[in-house]
Symmetry: C2
Subunit: 190 residues, 2 copies
């Protein structure tokens, strides 16, 4: 029994907010890890909207979902998450139970292509109002690559100023590892 | 289902490390909240050693334990936690499964009497080697009182330099509340 690791901690917060038929957003499809997790957690009557700017990421995600038989539950967008508001169907506004960001670069991909402070904050500004009451958004932050520290600082600064009447926000991190990832969790209070 | 609050998060990490017959230390008895929690979790064959410098705290703790019928499982010391190594019986060295610190002042007590950076760090230096393999130590940090910020900074600086081969260390905090408490959890790896 260890202290919670970063990715399991994020998934645990998300899992508590999901249910059969829920709507979820994966803001960073990447290798499809979180999209698959969300697709399983929302059940056959739920739906996941998943974003990535890299064709490679969407192909890996597509393969993974279909090999697990949950491809029909997911809509993949080749589009940056900063455009989620214009892309998502209006019917999901205020109904998103869970939203996950896994920032940084695509593992086993081009490390030059990373999420960036400015577009991540835009995505958060657009994404949080889409959450349902008691909906949860998690962001896994990495600081080991160029721009990572700046992006993490921007996410933390943005999160600190959220209205506590509208959102709870927490930060979980390992203390004695260099550049270990950390996770921010934001929960809509009502 | 909310994000974990600070005190439940601390208790959850501690609970995972406890078992019937375990040995535990409450470094800050206070009103007896954590001592009672530990006394229940170690069972009738376990034991808790609990420290406080204030008579008032020890009396409240004593009353609470006896009203719950677990007083016999607890040894109370009127002594600062920075002396735990000289006070605890040698047989418990390396056998402590859980150690809790709840820093700051005694609720409903004299707010001038607080734990302090220097003695807290001494207690940690003495306490961590007493942990059993996979033992856990938690510290709840408060920054809203004079000296609180300095003490929290000292605990964080101390924890960051712990050898990752010997300890895992994590920090959990709320982000959008002023002076919300936070919790550091340290787990002996082996």
């Amino acid at each position: 029994m260890s202290l919670p690791a970063i990715l399991p901690f994020a998934q645990e917060q998300i899992r508590k907010s999901l249910f059969d038929g829920a709507i979820a957003v994966d803001a960073t499809a990447g290798n499809g890890h979180d999209t698959l997790f969300l697709a399983k957690a929302v059940g056959a009557s739920g739906h996941v909207y998943s974003f990535d700017i890299q064709q490679e990421a969407l192909e890996r995600t597509h393969l993974r979902l279909h090999s697990e038989g949950v491809g029909a539950r997911v809509t993949l967008y080749r589009k940056g998450h900063q455009f989620m508001r214009e892309v998502l169907p209006e019917q999901v506004y205020g109904r998103v139970a869970a939203m996950m960001f896994n920032l940084g670069y695509l593992p086993r991909g081009d490390r030059q292509v990373t999420t960036r402070a400015e577009s991540t904050i835009t995505a958060l500004e657009q994404g949080l109002p889409l959450l349902a009451p008691y909906g949860v958004c998690t962001l896994v932050l990495y600081t080991g690559h160029p721009g990572g520290e700046k992006e993490a600082d921007a996410v933390l600064a943005f999160t600190k100023q959220l209205d506590p009447k509208q959102y709870d926000a927490a930060w979980y991190q390992m203390l004695n590892r260099n550049h270990a990832p950390s996770v921010v969790a934001i929960k809509k209070v009502r």
